[in-house]
């Protein structure tokens, strides 16, 4: 009788094995992206250039007015930098976020379900978005250009990037996995993504009433950029810890939603390949 490779005596813990998988995908996807070197560089620099155009827009706005609520030019650049870096981080690590609805509908989850890894993490990490490197680079450079380079502040910004990236990613992901429950939800998923991006790019003071409630609940742009800005300007460990807890709460919620939806997965017979 043949003997399966696993379980082996030195089997790593579930968390370690999944972190290793994440690292393996990261290397693998980078290699895959570089298969087309020209396209890779064009996408990265193209995205950074595209984002830069908005700096000019805000520079013109702030040349005419000093503040929008509590937000001056530097604050707006902070939320732009963080939104961009978080978006980039989320799409580098979880490159399949905006493909999940299609993957569910076309029965492509099969390949992930057949592998001995957590389906949610496996499906999200198995691809990377090349242009997201441009978003991440743009966010980090913009932050340093506007706020200067102080190691402590930069480290804090990087921490925000990771957790806001997770939060932003899990909201988009939740929009995508509605497909399990409602069928074809491509339009809703796109809308959720648009909302997340739009709400994180304007000063908090422009949002009032219901929208204000929305940015601290369903589309938590408040926790993605506005609260980090407040913590950045007036740092407290408690506030940072609470923010991270809230972020992880959202992540856990979206993971549960996915597990619930998976029971309703119907697979399919489309002829597909991994690209």
């Amino acid at each position: 009788m043949s003997t399966a490779v696993n379980p082996n005596p030195k089997k790593p813990s579930v968390i370690v094995s999944h972190l290793r998988l994440l690292a393996a995908y990261f290397r693998f996807n980078l290699a895959a992206a570089m298969e087309y070197r020209g396209s890779f560089l064009l996408q990265v620099f193209g995205m950074a250039l595209n984002n830069s155009a908005f700096i000019i827009f805000w520079a013109i706005v702030y040349s005419r007015i000093n503040h929008i609520g509590e937000y001056g030019f530097r604050e707006v650049m902070f939320i732009w930098a963080l939104a961009s870096a978080a978006f980039g981080f989320a799409h580098i690590i979880f490159g399949n976020i905006r493909q999940v609805s299609r993957i569910i509908m076309q029965g492509e989850l099969d390949a992930y379900l057949l592998q001995p890894k957590d389906v949610c993490l496996n499906v999200l990490c198995s691809r990377t978005e090349v242009s997201a490197w441009g978003d991440l680079a743009y966010g980090l450079i913009l932050f340093m250009a506007v706020w200067g380079f102080a190691p402590g502040e930069f480290l804090l910004f990087c921490t925000f990037t990771v957790f806001s990236g997770l939060l932003m990613g899990c909201i988009m992901f939740s929009g995508e996995i509605l497909t399990f429950f409602l069928g074809n939800t491509t339009v809703i998923s796109r809308l959720v993504t648009e909302f997340v991006i739009s709400f994180t790019l304007y000063p908090e003071s422009v949002f009032r009433g219901t929208v204000k409630w929305l940015i601290y609940s369903l589309i938590p742009a408040g926790f993605i950029v506005f609260v980090p800005l407040k913590i950045f300007k007036l740092f407290s460990w408690q506030a940072l810890g609470l923010l991270i807890l809230i972020d992880l709460g959202y992540v856990f919620g979206s993971y549960l939603l996915f597990r619930l939806g998976l029971r309703r997965y119907e697979s399919g017979n489309l002829i597909v390949g991994k690209l």
Binding site: M1, S2, T3, A4, V5, N6, P7, N8, K10, K11, P12, S17, R20, L21, A24, Y25, F28, A31, A32, E35, Y36, E108, L109, D110, A111, L113, L114, Q115, P116, K117, D118, N122, G183, R263, Y265, E266, S267, N269, L270, I271, V272, G273, K274, L275
Partner: protein, 361 residues
Amino acid sequence: MAFEKRPGDRNGEIFMPIIEVAGLTKQFRTKVKETGLKGSFRSLIMPEYLTVKAVENIGFQVEQGEILAFMGPNGAGKSTTIKMLTGILYPTAGKIQVLGLNPTRNRRQLAFRIGTVFGQKSQLWFHLPPQDSFRLLAGIYEIPDREFRMRVDYLVDLFDIWDLMRIPVRKLSLGQRVRCEIAASLLHKPEVIFLDEPTIGLDIVVKQKIRDLILLMNREERTTIFLTSHDVGDIEQLCRRAIIINHGAVVLNESVKNLKYNYLNYKIIAVKYSRPVSIQIPGIVKLKEKEYETAAISGESMEYAAKIAVDTKKQNLQHVVNQLMGLGEVLDITISDQPLEEIITAIYTAAPEMNANVTES
């Protein structure tokens, strides 16, 4: 799970079931709508749903080291069953145990011990060479480095894919890709491998090569093989036992040898005469007949050939042959079995009453 771990008994042989399925059912809820825009609006306001039974109350066992053919026409429920066995789909009802594990609850543990090749779905990355996909799969299956290198050397040699390992998958032919796919599915030494139409779209030479490889891995590593295929050649050459399902239910479960023996009611007789004759034998079915000119020493003459089917349950074969011999000068006569393909087609298209009989047998 309520299965008892006990050895089974088939044809006097003791066997240990490696896959056990009982009362397995899968239902899908599908939205139905009338045609046209009006129907779309109605469906939007008052959606109607239909419950489709893809698999209904099926049960079977698979022996360790066995090569089993799991067959059925399109839409019979084959893929749905495989997907439940591998943990992709949740069953609506019933019990499954694969290698003593419940695929729904122990999906990850089971994935370490099974391999899958879906002819219509690739597990290799399209833009990268197989060696990169293999490396990533080693990470996914947590194969230690040294073991991985030895395993790749063995498989690359076995499947003769040395020269393909560094070519991006998109540039491989279908046959080359399938060889790489099967090799990839064996990296982690699975105990059971599910092959869903592995020879689909392949030419005859490559098909034969894939069959030889399947047999080899079954013999060398005693891998249990659960094969679905529409290609009768795959079934005849590889499998000892066949399960046929139709309309979501098992209609036949027996050895390929018995399948031929029990369902070979018909014999096909091809006969050739030196001159045209009229075959009028009651109870036979004339499949084909043809008169044609031939150049003979005495000048041109007409010959006659016919192909007939005899139902041996109703007709005595010797009696029919004697009658044929008496009709004229026979130049050639051959008697052959009904092709397995036709037997399977007959089972697929059989009336429900026949299905019931077949199940009983």
